[in-house]
Structures are given as C-alpha cells and as structure tokens.
C-alpha cells in the first residue's frame, strides 16, 4: 500500500525573503552604524536645519534623507536608532519567549496544582494596565536600555504563557501522547520530545510577533521620553521630535515612521513564513 502525499513540497515564499532581507539589512545597519553612517548622528548644525531629502530642491550633499530642526542627519540617526531597536527586539523578545513558553508548557502539560498556580498568576498579571505598568516600572528603576527590556519581559511573558499553555493542553489530549506513555516515556520526556516540537511553530510565530511588539514598545517609551538617554538616537525619539515640526519638515517624522512600520511588519511576516517552514503538516 502506498500513496502520493510525500511528494508535495512548499516553496519558500516571497514574504519570507522580503521580511528576512529587510531584517538582515537592519541588523547589518545596527552592527555597522558607526562606520556606514554618512554623518555623526549627534552633530548639530543650526545653519543646516530642516534640509529636505535628496530629491527635493535646496539640499546639501551627503544629507540623503534631510536633517531635523537642529541640523542632525536623519539617515544617520535612523541607522543608529536601529541599534537600540534591534537590541531590544532580540534580547527582550528572546527572554520573554523563554520565560513565557516554559511556564505555559509546564502549566498546559502537567496540569494540576502547577497549572492552577501559573494560570492564576497570569490572570492577576494581566489585570495590570500594561503601559502604566511599564512607565511605573521605569520611573522606579530609572530609564535605560535594560529597563526597557525588563519592562517588556515583565509585561509580555503572559502572552506566551497563555497561548503555549492552551496549545500544550490540546496536544496533551492527543492519542500519540498516550501511546508514548504506554511505550514508557516519562512525563518530562513526553513534554520535551512529544509536545514541544508540536508547539514550536506557535512559539516561533509568537517570538517574532513579540520582537515587533518590543520595537513598538521601545518607540512608545521613547515617545514619552522614558527610553534610554535622550542623547542616543532612537526611532521613537525621532518620531516624537518630528511630530512638532511636521508642517515644516515632514521627513523628520515620516522616515523613522516608515522604518518602524516596515520592521514590525517584517517581524510578523517572518514568523508566519518560518511557521510554514517548521510545521511538518504545512511543509
């Protein structure tokens, strides 16, 4: 007996290429910012304030995307802003993912009192208003890169824990788990070998979504001036500054905004694309 399902193969989609490409570009920009930036991102020159981007009239050579009201180069600031954004996305996303996924997996598979403790903790945690919570947290421990990361982890682990718990519960009820247990696999073994691989596609999607969310949270905190020191350029800080002069110099607002938008979009699309690659049923 045989059938022909084995031959079907899915192509790597365009969106996976586009999103991975954009994120690679940003990662390179973040790593190489000091060397590839055309100008010093902090250098002010009031004579060169509000220069338009390169295709408009009245530009200066070297200021490709124009300057802000203090004469700082927008492109250089975006490149340097990528450092903060990417650090926050990768570090905060990963830590959040690990904490949330481990707790969710334990709660969903072991059930019993473990589940009761973790689930109640999630319920209580989610009752705090997240933005106020993070502002309060940063007000207490002081602004800085690690404060942002901590704030994101503290707020968002519940997102992972909830979804992974539900997934693990569903998988735990499947017949293959019973079969594995009859075949002598212990509880931890079942959880890691049988359940985890089936929850992994979901975890990957959540992880990349979380990275996008981390970028947004960082921008929001910059916007309300609670991010890292105001000297370091961040996308959120640029958007906040650009907002005040949007009628005279729209580019100061629009370029960081587009970068932010594309980055968050790329993270979520990367997740969807990777899920298709990792999921044996869709592969």
């Amino acid at each position: 007996m045989r059938d022909g399902r084995g031959q079907v193969r899915r192509k790597v989609g365009l969106r996976l290429w586009l999103s991975a490409g954009w994120l690679t570009l940003l990662l390179l920009a973040a790593l190489l910012a000091p060397w590839i930036s055309p100008k010093d991102p902090l250098a002010q020159d009031l004579f060169l304030g509000r220069l338009p981007p390169f295709w408009m009239a009245g530009t200066e050579p070297g200021y490709w995307l124009g300057t802000d009201s203090l004469g700082r180069d927008v492109l250089s600031r975006i490149l340097h802003g990528a450092r903060v954004a990417m650090t926050v996305a990768l570090v905060a996303g990963t830590i959040t993912c690990v904490i949330g996924a481990v707790l969710g997996l334990l709660a969903g598979f072991l059930r019993g009192w473990v589940d009761i403790v973790i689930s109640r903790l999630i319920d209580i945690w989610m009752a705090f208003p997240p933005v106020l919570f993070s502002i309060l947290l940063i007000a207490v421990i002081g602004p800085g890169l690690w404060s942002i990361i901590l704030a994101i982890v503290v707020i968002d682990w519940t997102r992972f824990a909830r979804v992974v718990r539900a997934e693990a519960m569903g998988q735990g009820a499947m017949d293959y788990v019973a079969s594995a247990q009859v075949a002598g696999r212990g509880r931890m073994g079942t959880m890691l070998v049988e359940i985890l691989p089936n929850v992994l596609p979901t975890i990957i999607v959540l992880l990349t979504l979380e990275m996008g969310i981390a970028v947004i949270v960082e921008a929001i905190l910059s916007f309300v001036n609670l991010s890292i020191s105001t000297d370091d350029p961040t996308w959120g800080g640029m958007i906040a500054e650009g907002r005040t002069s949007v009628h005279q110099a729209w580019w100061v607002l629009v370029f960081p905004l587009i970068t932010l938008f594309l980055t968050v979009l790329s993270f979520s699309q990367l997740g969807e694309g990777l899920k298709d690659r990792f999921d044996p049923v869709l592969r």
Partner: protein, 290 residues
C-alpha cells in the same frame, strides 16, 4: 494462568458520587483474544486505559487489582509500573489521525519503545520496524520510516500503528476501537490484518469495541459491560449461541443483520434496561454499605 487479570476494579471521576467502573473482573490468557463490548460510556476504554496506566488524571482507581504477569500494577511505584507496562504491553489506538506525533518521523516513533525500554540498538530496532511494516503490507517500508504522519493516508497510518504495536513481541495488546474511525472497506482489511498478526505472533489481545460483528470475527471470549459493570463474561461461541444475561440477549437481538436488510432496527427494550439498571443500583447500594 492468565497473563492479565483484573480483579474487582472500581474507579470513579474524582469527587463524583457514582463509580465509573463497578467491580470489574476479567482475565486474558496468553494468546487469547478477549472482546470488551458495551454501549458508549459503559467504561470499555477506561478498562483498557487502566491496564496500560494511562487513565485521565481526573479518574481515580478506588480499589481492585490489575495483575500483569502475576504482579499487581497498582501497587508498583510509577516508574517501575511504566517500565513493566512498556516492556510487555502495547496499544493500538482508536484514531489513527491523532495517534502519531505529527512532528516526528514514523521510524523513531515506532522504535522508541524498543530502544528506550528494551535497550535495543538503533540498527536492530530499525530492522525490526522495517520487517513489521512489510508484514502489514506496506509497499516501501524504508520510505515510510522516513516520512511524517501527514504524508500517509488514514489506512496507512493504522497499518503503521498496528505494526508498531507488535514490535518486539509484546505479551498483551490493548486495541481501543481500532476500526471505529475507519470507513467500512478499510475496516475489514484492518481487522483481517490485526487477526492475522495476532495469530502469527500469538499475542494476547484485549479488543475494545462496540461492534458485535467485529467480536464474532476476531475474539474467542468477551465481556459485556453495562454502566461499568460486567454483566456477561463468556466465550464467543456460547455468547452467539445463547447469551445468559437479558441485556446481552437484547444487545445481540439489536444487531442489524445484512442477511435481512429490510428489518427495522430493534432497540434494547425498556424493561431489560430497567432490569440491568436495578442490578447496577443494587451493586452500588452494596458498595455504599461497605
């Protein structure tokens, strides 16, 4: 001497007043095929799960013994129980679509038990899996071993499950409604396959089903359950000739016959149900009074 002997097993959902299994006793001799029949909710699958140590967490065993090769499983520490069950028993699950882990290849899933519990080498376990797949008439065993479950049809998956249940000659296989999720043509084929494998390997089989037709084809003895109580324990020959219990008689009379397709369906008569329910109530009264 029976290989599996269940004695006076009672179980209930934690906190529930009524029992799910009511003093169930049954035995399976080496090489015997015992059918376990009853309507849905009668506790057929629960007995199979109790034997294999995979009862849902919400169900607790109240009393009784499950003797496997003479040792009471319920008295063993969990790790030892798991090892003992894994070394001598296997399961053919009901739904082939969820009984294989979707993210693992067929090969490792079939050989886990051989390597982890019995301590075989990978190569020996792989060779065994290949032979078994060939035995259940899968055309290209090597390819199937490398495939994922979703790449196989339902019938193929059920073959894989049957093959892996017979790996390393278990003493007892619990088949939990192995044909219920399949369509009728595949059902017949799978049934023939199980019966053939059982005959060749001489494995004892506890065959959970609600289909008396299936019982008549593969089983030698059977236990009829009603509300978690064994109401009839007899050989298949005696059962089809003259069932002793009124409920068993009514059940047999209710089975549709393909020789008489125009006959309308006969439900089990109300007085029979009342009678067997009274028997259950009496058992429960006796239980409550000590």
């Amino acid at each position: 001497m029976s290989f599996l002997e269940v004695r006076n097993l009672s179980a209930r959902v934690r906190g529930a007043p009524d029992r799910l299994l009511r003093d169930v006793s049954l035995s399976v001799a080496p090489g015997e095929v015992r059918g376990l029949v009853g309507e849905s909710g009668a506790g057929k699958s629960m007995i199979g799960k109790a034997v294999l140590g995979i009862l849902p967490r919400a169900v607790e065993v109240l009393c009784g013994e499950i003797l496997l090769g003479g040792t009471d499983l319920l008295r063993l520490p969990p790790a030892e129980r798991r090892r003992r069950i894994g070394a001598t028993c296997a399961l053919i699950p009901q739904d082939p679509l969820t009984a294989l882990n979707p993210s693992r290849r067929i090969g490792p899933q079939m050989t886990d038990r051989l390597v982890d519990i019995l301590g075989w080498t990978r190569a020996k376990a792989d060779a065994c899996a290949r032979d078994l797949l060939a035995e259940v008439q899968i055309a290209d065993p090597d390819r199937v071993l490398r495939q994922y479950p979703h790449e196989l049809s339902g019938g193929m998956r059920q073959r894989v499950l049957i093959a892996s249940a017979f790996a390393a000659e278990p003493k007892l296989i619990v088949a939990d409604e192995p044909t219920t999720a399949l369509d009728v043509t595949v059902q017949k084929e799978v049934l023939r396959l199980i019966a053939g494998m059982q005959a060749r390997h001489g494995t004892a089989l506890l065959f959970v089903t609600h289909d008396l037709g299936v019982v008549s084809k593969v089983c030698q003895s059977l236990s009829v359950l009603y509300a978690g109580m064994v109401v009839e324990d007899t050989t298949v020959r005696d059962f089809f000739r003259a069932p002793a219990h009124p409920y068993a008689r009514a059940l047999l009379a209710a089975t549709p016959k393909y020789t008489d397709p125009d006959r309308s369906l006969v439900p089990v008569a109300q007085d029979v149900l009342d009678g067997v329910q009274a028997q259950v109530d009496a058992a429960d009264r006796g239980w409550r009074n000590g």
